[in-house]
């Protein structure tokens, strides 16, 4: 096998991936009672995958990714309320708004260290939260944007109460975005992103245009996050301040970490585990489930999050020393 083949083999679809996607895409049909939560999982999975693009592949720590999620959501909601109820136009519109904003905001993440980036991204999400809160003539303020009525998808499939259409719709968007992003991260472009993550100075030295790569990948991630926000608004028929909430940015970070950063399935796996865990824990202790979430995080970091996805290392003490070093 020559070098080209071995490189190409990495990016080709494996048999288990195809099976997995068939199972995922058909899941609302064989789990009709859980269609609502499947829809929710698909949305946050898409959101987590978009964060993985900048965090896992490029190494930008962001605590304000919800900004783009909310922007997409509100843009789609406003479009549906005032102009046209067509979901696909809304999807295009919300994604476009998030993309443009992402392109502008990408200027702010170029300089400084991790702390500066953390603060700038967080600050941006907080500003949007305040804006959505105060511009109540447009967004409905703290009450949220109400009266969003969606038309049928593709003019044929009406949204129903049981979430069947929503789940199929969200899953299809997730699948399309995933295939696109999978292509992106396995391309030479994706390889340059990982080079930047691993050592920015060396990446610069071998001629990778670091600034351009950072801004383009941030824009791409913003676009996908915007699409996830659109799905959220369209399938719930409602946009609220919760879309911009800092909790949302933290949760998505957590999902990604549970699933594992730096591979795209991490976002999906994390979203499934997180949502199920949230469901179970909050049904046991509705008020205090954040305690267990916090404990889980602390233990996860203490044990080393690399080991979570590498079961073989659970039983050997040598591996733990290597990861701690």
């Amino acid at each position: 096998m020559n070098a080209q083949q071995s490189l190409l083999q990495k990016s080709s679809f494996k048999w288990w991936e195809i099976l997995l996607w068939i199972a995922l895409l058909s899941s609302p049909a064989w789990l009709p009672k859980h269609a609502l939560i499947i829809n929710e999982i698909a949305i946050v999975a898409l959101f987590a995958v978009s964060l993985d693009l900048i965090l896992g592949y490029t190494g930008i720590v962001s605590l304000g990714h919800a900004a783009f999620f909310g922007l997409g959501g509100y843009a789609a909601g406003l479009l549906a309320k005032h102009i046209t109820p067509d979901p696909l136009l809304g999807l295009a519109m919300g994604t476009a708004v998030a993309t443009v904003t992402g392109a502008v905001m990408s200027l702010t993440i170029m300089r400084g260290n991790d702390l500066t980036r953390l603060m700038v991204t967080l600050g941006f999400a907080l500003i949007l939260f305040e804006l959505a809160n105060k511009l109540d003539w447009l967004t409905g303020g703290a009450d949220g944007l109400q009266g969003v009525v969606m038309g049928p998808v593709l003019g044929r499939f009406e949204f129903d109460l049981y979430g069947q259409t929503s789940a199929f719709y969200s899953l299809s968007v997730l699948a399309v975005c995933f295939v696109l992003l999978r292509r992106v991260v396995h391309s030479p472009y994706g390889a340059t992103l990982m080079a930047i993550r691993d050592n920015r100075l060396r990446a610069m030295a071998i001629g990778i245009p670091v600034t351009r790569r950072l801004s383009s990948v941030y824009t791409l991630a913003a676009a996908v996050a915007g699409a996830a926000g659109v799905l959220m608004t369209q399938t719930t028929g409602f946009a609220s301040l919760d879309l911009f909430d800092i909790h949302r940015s933290a949760d998505v970070l957590l999902m990604l970490v549970i699933g594992g950063t730096g591979w795209l399935y991490g976002g999906i796996l994390g979203a499934v585990v997180f949502k199920v865990m949230q469901d179970v824990l909050s049904s046991i202790t509705p008020q205090y489930w954040t305690f267990w979430l916090g404990l889980f995080l602390v233990v996860l970091v203490m044990v080393g999050r690399e080991r979570l996805n590498n079961p073989r290392s659970w039983f050997s003490s040598k591996a733990s020393k290597e990861t701690a070093a």
Partner: protein, 290 residues
């Protein structure tokens, strides 16, 4: 107008005391500690509980809040924080967010989610007015007290940092850990002491601020952003940087909320982003550090 300036200064001084520990530990250990607010909350709750259940006088509560938080800080530093110093920032962010979640939920569980009220002693309750007309300066006695305490603490901190042996060790460790260790400075001990004092100061700030800022289980999350702004804008290499940043933030916040309430916290965040784009390392940084 002067009254707003005065309130802004009091608020800023309070933020400085709350955040200075974070700034020093962040500069020293390069550790992004989002859980700093939890120590402030600990100090606030120590005060509230002592006053409500044991009738300890307010003035005595303040040093106790300092000691209590410092002790918690020292224990946690030794057991949980130390292994994480050399880990990636993402790990530190996750860890400290987890700590915040746990602290918030535990306080909620043991004490309840209602806002706690502190009964101030009589002599701190009044208000003095100076001047007339547009230039009237109304000073709440409690805010005056806060400013006095914070100024005293700032002077003391500055003295310790610049004049004592411990201060020079600390500065050496901040500039370059490895060389400092090579010169025979017990860097671990310096870390531990600094972390404990920083947490203690946060606790003291929490106790002082319980009346002004409000104290409930969501305190660490609500004010996390403000502490981080102080540190990010002020830089982590000196204490005059965070002090000026805290004053700026306090005045901007109070004035913004008074003059343009519609925009609320918007001004503060926009200002922060503008400053960070302009000077990513913070407004007041000394050249030559690491």
């Amino acid at each position: 107008m002067l009254t707003i300036l005065f309130d802004g200064i009091a608020y800023g001084m309070l933020l400085f005391i709350l955040a200075v520990g974070l700034s020093v530990t962040m500069g020293l250990m390069n550790f992004i500690n989002l859980a700093h607010g939890a120590f402030a909350m600990a100090g606030g709750y120590i005060t509230v509980l002592l006053m409500q259940r044991l009738d300890v006088p307010f003035l005595l509560c303040l040093p106790l809040a300092f000691l209590g938080s410092a002790l918690i800080g020292a224990v946690l530093e030794r057991t949980l924080y130390r292994p994480l110093y050399n880990r990636p920032h993402l790990d530190q962010v996750l860890f400290s967010i987890g700590m915040v979640f746990m602290a918030t939920a535990s306080v909620d569980f043991f004490i309840g989610s209602t806002q706690q009220i502190i009964q101030l002693p009589e002599w701190l309750k009044g208000r003095t007015e100076l001047g007339t007309g547009d230039w009237v300066l109304g000073m709440g006695h409690y805010r005056l007290f806060i400013i006095a305490v914070c100024v005293a603490l700032t002077v003391a901190l500055q003295y310790v940092l610049s004049r004592t042996r411990f201060g020079s060790r600390l500065r050496a460790s901040v500039d370059d850990q490895r060389v400092a260790a090579g010169l025979g400075i017990n860097v671990n001990m310096v870390f531990l002491t600094t972390f404990a004092v920083g947490s203690g100061l946060a606790g003291l700030g929490g106790a002082l601020g319980a009346e002004v800022l409000g104290l409930d289980p969501n305190f660490p999350l609500k004010f996390m952003v403000y502490f981080l702004i102080v540190v990010a804008v002020g830089g982590t290499t000196s204490i005059s940087g965070p002090l000026l940043a805290a004053l700026l933030l306090g005045i901007a916040d109070v004035a913004g909320k008074y003059y343009i309430p519609k925009l609320g916290a918007f001004i503060v965040y926009a200002l922060m982003i503008a400053i960070l784009i302009w000077r990513p390392q913070g407004l007041f940084v000394r050249q030559g550090g690491k």
